[in-house]
Amino acid sequence: MSAPYLELRGLGKSYDGRTRALDNVSLTAAKGEFITFLGPSGSGKTTTLMLVAGFESASEGDILIEGRSIGRVPPHKRGIGVVFQNYALFPHRAAAENVAFPLLMRKMPKAQAMAKAAEMLGLVGLERFGGRYPREMSGGQQQRVALARALVFDPALLLLDEPLGALDKNLREQMQIEIKAVQRRLGVTTIFVTHDQSEAMAMSDRIVVFDGGRIQQVGAPLDIYRYPSSSFVARFVGDSNILAARLTDPAGGQAEIAGIGTVRVPALPAARAGDAIELLLRPECLKPGSGLDNAARLTVDVIVHFGDSALVTGHAGGTPLRARLEGLAAQGISAGDTLPLSWATSSSHVIGRDAAG
């Protein structure tokens, strides 16, 4: 592989000189990649973006684009487009003037800049809104103007900090698709910040999971979902059962779970018998009946129907368990019932161990 397009090298940041907002963040991105920073509030996502954009300076580490350090380049010379959560549109300028602003700052003649701004507004579906002031537009429209403004000057990088947080659910899903489409079309390398795991799953080439100012895991959405490297990641990304188990035969892939008994797990040749492990079982991997590799009997405490699916919570011999069943399969189940469930060994994952097994 050639040199990465973007590289964050050991970034650290302390605002007050004592507590660390960011610690040893290293990451590379290929040109055109869509990367999402996912993590709870206060985990350092915004801080990382601020360092990349140049609004804050790093306490340690460096940022490189195409191998050149931009750590000491002032923000207005970095050529990085930023979309803020509150849009940050200039209230005294109409939409088209907002979009033309970066071109005018680059000394493009006014007529040419306005023409290019109009073209960009067309790309985000606002061709007839150029004369509107931000206060005359809806949240979704303002967000699109902000996107057009951040893209019109062919930025080296596009940064979006929770850009959809203020929108309602339907609009948010529509904007996810639109942002993704525009990003693909222009091929701009993008970092998108969110604390919403489904948004991260839907949009990203790769997800970077943050917690406590550190990167917890980097990977493709499905890899992160299936093979989380820690119980934090497993819980943060998707719904989960995390079962405490004890290995009885590591190489053969056998373990013992209290209340369920002996189960098969992915083989762990490097582990030792007697080791404590955490087994991740996604609720949708538990199927009704006993047709799969491993079986458990679930005593139902609560069942919630969503139509297309139903979430059953209960316990198996004292071990709490959640199962997501298909809507039709869940018909007729009620609290107090005992359900036979089973799961395929390959759908389970031993947290913190290699996915190779």
Binding site: A53, F55, P75, H76, F84, A88, F153
Partner: protein
Amino acid sequence: MRGLLLSLGAVVLAFIAAPLLIVVPMSFSSAASLEFPPPGWTTAYYGAFFGDARWTQPTINSILIALAVAVLTMAMVTPATFALVRHRFAGKSAVNLLLMLPLAVPHIVIAIGYYAYLSDLRLLQTFPGVILAHTALSVPMAFLVLSASLKGFDRSLERAAMSLGASPAATFRHVTLPVLWPGFAAAALFAFIQSFDETVVALFVSGRDSMTLPRKMFDSIRTTADPVIAVVSTLLFFTVAALVILPMLWRSFSRSRS
């Protein structure tokens, strides 16, 4: 209850609004000295005011001084406000206190202080002397007004501008200033009006060549109760009222338009 409110309203009118407005009919009075009610009506004293350099010169002086005070105040208060609102530094609260000090000291004390101070600098009775003293008085209000509007300013606008390629200077010119201009305008207006109607300090530090309008009025009413004073009062009253009220009207107009 209703009767009580009505009589309270009448008292307010009688003792607050009436003295403010009584100068208006008095300025059209035909009497040879200030008296109310007027025995007859004339506009002759308006002619007397505009035709007499002893009145027009102090008026021009006052306008020039107030303009200079507004400019000087803004030149000092703008960087101070940005520093105090946006940055943390040692001695910040002391600086804050110092800026607000003129508000806490009685005008007469400030007047005496400037009298002694400016005479040492040989600036007594000069334009620069009056301008300096008035600027000191204008700083606290201008600072309060500007810092209130700066605190409400969304800094992500500036960050957006910089990410879009605007240098710090261009960001200030194209984003910060246009967005904050009502705050700047209000602060400058306060400084202007403060200087324009200031009397106590002007009595001490302005002189024959730097005579301000309020000082001229004071001198005049001590010697003769010239009805021209009612004319000046009326003009002053409407000028200042217009300066204060017009921006409010303009704002509500531009809001209803959008």
